[in-house]
Amino acid sequence: MSKTKITLFIASLFPTFGLIYALLTNQLGANPIEAITRETGLWALRFLWLTLLISPLIWLTGWNKLATLRRMLGLYVFFYALLHMLLYLWLDQFFDINEIIKDIIKRPFITIGFFTFTALIPLVITSNNRMVKRLGGKAWKKLHRLTYFIAIASSVHFYMLVKQDKTEPLFYIVLLVVLFGIRLYRYHKKHTTMASSLKLS
């Protein structure tokens, strides 16, 4: 592993250590369980947004090496989402299967959260070179477009669970719109230039 990768690996664990430290020093307020559940979910979202930032950064800077960091960021999305999910299953539902199934069926934001998490699993399984080879670049890329769906679904999940003040989820939604916008703009430009070059020839 390169130095950059090791640094990123350790830096990405900071939120975990931060939360553990805050928990042990009683800094998470009167409802620490709610706080760690919320924070781990938020970090999953942040890491997802970071993975979506990699491509635009490469286009902007031309620094192709950034692409090698994307996989690790993506795996951290899963890591924090898994913590978030486990905290919900354990501290919210105490692994009561009946309650969990009822909750998933009945509550739209839980339903969405559950399927968003499930959608991460095929991406995690295929996040190694062997799987890229086995699937072939094209199919692998297609599969990993699921990321866009996951990003939209997690935004909806976040937006729906907030009681009244939607500022925070809206902030992340705006960032996502920008990240998507850059892609659309680039796609549009590529196709129009391609079309015009075709005409020229």
Partner: protein, 320 residues
């Protein structure tokens, strides 16, 4: 404004003042455990209760309506608050309401509407006629957490009766102060300010309904709704409107701030009910602040004996 100062009295000898550690463990005393045993446990239980400032209300009557549940710590009660007038997260109110209410401005409460004796009162005059008592109530938030809080106050009915409501007074509407300078959260339109709430007249007159001016033996802090707030223990916490400036008797059911914000999510009654879920989350269980496991939520927050009769023949799913 000198809230409760008159109750303090300058002539109380120090030895007459109940040791505050004893105050914290008074429930054990009342429950009849051996005094010596309790006393020897003091340091331990103190650690559990956290620190509580010296009480300012000293001669409080204990209410038979009090709950025996273990008190939520003073620290949690005063730092984990929903008070959107001071920000929408739980920590903001304690940080932003430290100087609330502005002591240089008198706090006035208007009582008006369908009554024979309306009036405008300064805070001290408003509460002077009433005997303050301590009531330990369960408090259940619509978000699925709960606390047990030793309130200081008097029955709302005592105040309402003095205003002599007439036969058209079917409901009571309450309004919180609107002053964005003192309440920075009001500069953002998260809710339709000022915050309003309402009760049916029989709910308002129920002996459980309390006007609170303090908790843990002290005056209310800004974040808890100083200087005077409502406490309706069988309803979700948002019904217990804070920092009241207006009480109005009305003939038709008033619209509350939360009903306006989400008519499908927040009804007029908002009685605690494990079988009627919030459209977005379940209400069947709750996390008691300070406890690890969740507990089952009880119908009317466990106060059915006192209030169930108010809702006979009513469809609680429709009248949520």
């Amino acid at each position: 404004m000198h809230i409760g100062k008159k109750r303090l009295g300058d002539d109380i000898v120090a030895s007459e003042i109940t040791d505050h550690q004893v105050y914290l463990n008074r429930r054990q005393f009342l429950n009849g455990s051996a005094v010596v045993a309790t006393a020897s446990l003091l340091p331990l239980s103190m650690a559990g209760a956290g620190s509580v400032p010296e009480p300012t209300f000293l001669d409080l009557k204990q209410s038979p309506l009090s709950s025996d549940d273990k008190l939520t710590t003073y620290d949690s009660v005063t730092t984990y608050n929903n008070f959107y007038e001071f920000g929408t997260d739980k920590a903001s109110p304690a940080l932003l309401a430290t100087d609330f209410p502005d002591k240089s401005k008198p706090w006035r409460v208007t009582i008006e509407g369908e009554c024979d004796k309306p009036g405008e009162y300064e805070y001290d005059d408003l509460i002077r006629p009433f005997t303050l008592e301590e009531r330990i109530y369960r408090f259940r938030c619509v978000e699925g957490w709960s606390m047990v809080i030793p309130w200081v106050g008097f029955p709302l009915a005592d105040l309402l009766k003095r205003a002599q409501p007439n036969s058209r007074a079917k409901y009571v509407e309450f309004t919180t102060l609107y002053d964005p300078e003192q309440m920075p959260g009001q500069s953002r339109k998260v809710l339709d300010w000022p915050y309003t709430e309402g009760l049916r007249i029989d709910e308002a007159m129920n002996p459980l309904t309390l006007l609170s001016v303090g908790l843990y033996g002290q005056e209310l802090l800004g974040q808890n709704g100083a200087p005077i707030r409502l406490v309706v223990p069988w309803k979700y916490g948002f019904k217990s409107i804070k920092s009241i400036v207006n009480i109005r008797f009305v003939e038709t059911m008033p619209n509350s701030a939360w009903m306006k914000a989400g008519p499908k999510e927040y009804g007029f009654y908002s009685n605690v009910n494990p079988d009627v879920d919030h459209p977005r989350w379940s209400q069947s269980r709750e996390r008691r602040i300070g406890e690890f496991l969740k507990r089952k939520t009880e119908l009317y927050n466990g106060y059915g004996e006192q209030v169930a009769h108010l809702y006979t023949d009513m469809d609680l799913t429709k009248n949520f």
